[in-house]
Amino acid sequence: MRYPLFLRATVLGVALLLAVALLSAACGDGDDREASAPGSATAVTVTTPSASASPAASVVAAFPVSVTDSGGTTVTFTEAPKRIISYSPGATEVLFAVGAGGQVVGVDKFSDYPPETSTKTRLEYSKPAPEPALALQPDLVIMATRQEGQVAQFRALGMTVLLLKEPADLAAVLDQIRTLGKVTGHAAEGERIAATLEERIDAVEKRVAGVIDGPLVFYEVSPELHTAGPQTFIGSLLATAKAKYVAQGATTAFPQLSAETIISSNPAVILLADGGGSGSQSASTVIARPGWEGIDAVRNGRVHVIDSNLFNRPGPRVVDVLEQLVDILYPDLQ
């Protein structure tokens, strides 16, 4: 068969385009751009550039500092980073709490606490594009669980990335506060905050030490009756507060329960994470649900709307949440 000349030319042109793409791919790819093979345990040492002015007076920690992140990568800092991007609302709170707020240049769109975050450049949270991040010329990028898949991409583009997955329990929150204090040059402040929080956690634990049979809690995430299981941070808070909860045996993070399961388990306390600013549920909507009027929590007026942002965000305010939770669960226990 014969193709017209222009067609053959087109095929040739396309082939050429492809060749150019391949060639430029080969050129643009320096030795330091090696993609890690899947599964290989990567232990890269990343160093921040050290060609700038001396650290601020408040920065006292001894550098270099090396930390191992949640991905098992050891990241070394020769000096305190001055242009930090945080893609994690929890980490953002920690950064501001330890006094590194001035070093932050960009935060994800859910980082809304403290209010000073409003002056920082807003970035995406899910699958953030690298371009706006590069434009900020960061010397440290903090990523969390949701950005895990992009750590290698950002590193390949020359950015120093610390992967700090969302902590699963209170001890892990304290660890992250210490880690972030250390790498930002605010080790003493991080240590001080962690120690204070530890004392408050101890106090709470003492408060509930005598509790043998805590109240049964239903923590409502959505009006479709999704709740929090034991793998979640909420689960660990409830366990610390010695509460039992309806989804205690769940194998998934946020299982959906049937109304009859909840009604028959008869929880003593209902916590609504889908009320207030996060949804339309309240004590009165719960009472109106058919069959719910007989539940102990409803009859005794123990249906509480809680701030789901606080409960979901493992930052320095988690101990506030824990104390608040214990106040709700044990109104008689002081």
Partner: protein
């Protein structure tokens, strides 16, 4: 090919206008690449963009600094990958429409999409390291899932040594439904990571890299060559299986080769950029309205315009709400359907 076949197909199929469309395709594509590389969430002067690219092409390496990285390592691979994926999906769609003689056929018809989705979902919820950069486990599982679904569909549809077209399409629907159900189950059982699966399923070019381009180019390039070489035979197939056979075409072999090649190329694209709908369905139809049904012209035109379309759609995805990005599938549907309807109406009035 027999003499008779030649006689049948030696008609002056391509209109002069079709040649013009094809000739215009390459400069239009090049213009799209240039525009899409010049514009982004971060404003970089055109002269810097041009200087950066020329310096790299001349082999002088990068100048360093964020502008250099943004233009060369972020934007250009993204634009080229979007073009490669767009062209491949459109070409695969044209192939499926031709082989299955079904105007609703798209590259995802026989299970590629749902198989890839299931593979990716399993990789994402597994303890394997999550990495969208290069060809990580997610892409690998998606690729394997896509091929497994295609093989299963084929095996289910096979009756003896032939694969009746209707069986093939129906088996594809069944396999897709089963794989989609399994994907949903995997997500339900792992809510903590369901969002990650969800955002993967949407498809986007945020995580493009030279690495991905280099990995995909060989497969995709071979598929382009094979499919473009089969256009003449696929023309004959439009007469029907038996008629094509009497023209000396080995119908079953042609179907297998083209479908496998198109599926393989689609699987590579899906593995690297997720599921991007609409391109594979609409672009071939739009091109058909422009240049007519002769596959010898239609396929290269589809390749070029598929690439151009997805590059511009991705540009839209980056720019409409910049710096926030939209899933590119929203743009392909929003921009593609009105354009397609206009073409369709003009065709009815007999204008083009």
């Amino acid at each position: 090919m027999s003499v008779r076949a030649r006689l049948v197909f030696a008609r002056p199929a391509a209109r002069p206008a079709a040649h013009l469309v094809l000739a215009a395709g390459i400069p239009v594509l090049v213009a799209a690449v240039i525009i899409a590389t010049s514009v982004g969430a971060v404003s970089i002067p055109q002269t810097t963009v041009a200087a950066t690219i020329l310096r790299h092409l001349a082999g002088q390496g990068g100048a360093g600094g964020p502008a250099d990285t943004i233009v060369w390592d972020v934007r250009l691979p993204r634009v080229l990958l979007a073009g490669m994926v767009g062209g491949t999906l459109a070409l695969s769609g044209a192939t499926y429409q031709s082989v299955f003689r079904n105007p609703l056929a798209d590259p995802y018809l026989i299970g590629v999409a749902s198989g890839a989705g299931l593979g990716a979902a399993i990789a994402i919820v597994s303890p394997l390291p999550l990495d969208y950069y290069g060809f990580g486990y997610v892409a690998l599982f998606a690729f394997v899932g896509a091929l497994a679904a295609v093989a299963l569909t084929y095996e289910l549809a096979r009756s003896g040594r032939t694969v009746p077209t209707a069986n093939h399409v129906l088996a594809g629907v069944a396999v897709s439904a089963a794989a989609t159900a399994a994907t949903t189950l995997v997500m339900m059982l792992n809510e903590a990571r369901a969002f990650v699966v969800f955002s993967w399923l949407y498809g986007d070019f945020t995580t493009s890299s030279w690495e991905k381009l280099r990995l995909a180019s060989p497969y995709v390039g071979v598929s382009w060559v094979v499919l473009l070489l089969c256009t003449h035979r696929l023309n004959a197939l439009q007469l029907g299986d038996d008629e094509a056979a009497t023209l000396g075409i080995r119908v079953e072999r042609l179907k297998i080769v083209t479908v496998v090649v198109a599926s393989l190329a689609t699987a590579v694209c899906v593995a690297l950029s997720g599921l991007i709908g609409f391109v594979g369905l609409i672009v071939p139809h739009a091109c058909r309205l422009l240049v007519g049904p002769d596959n010898r012209v239609l396929f290269p035109v589809t390749l070029l315009f598929g690439a151009t379309f997805l590059i511009l759609a991705d540009l839209g995805a980056r720019m409409v709400l910049a710096p926030q990005e939209l899933p590119v599938g929203i743009i392909t549907a929003a921009a593609g359907s009105p354009f397609f309807l206009i073409l369709l109406r003009r065709q009815r009035r007999g204008l083009p």
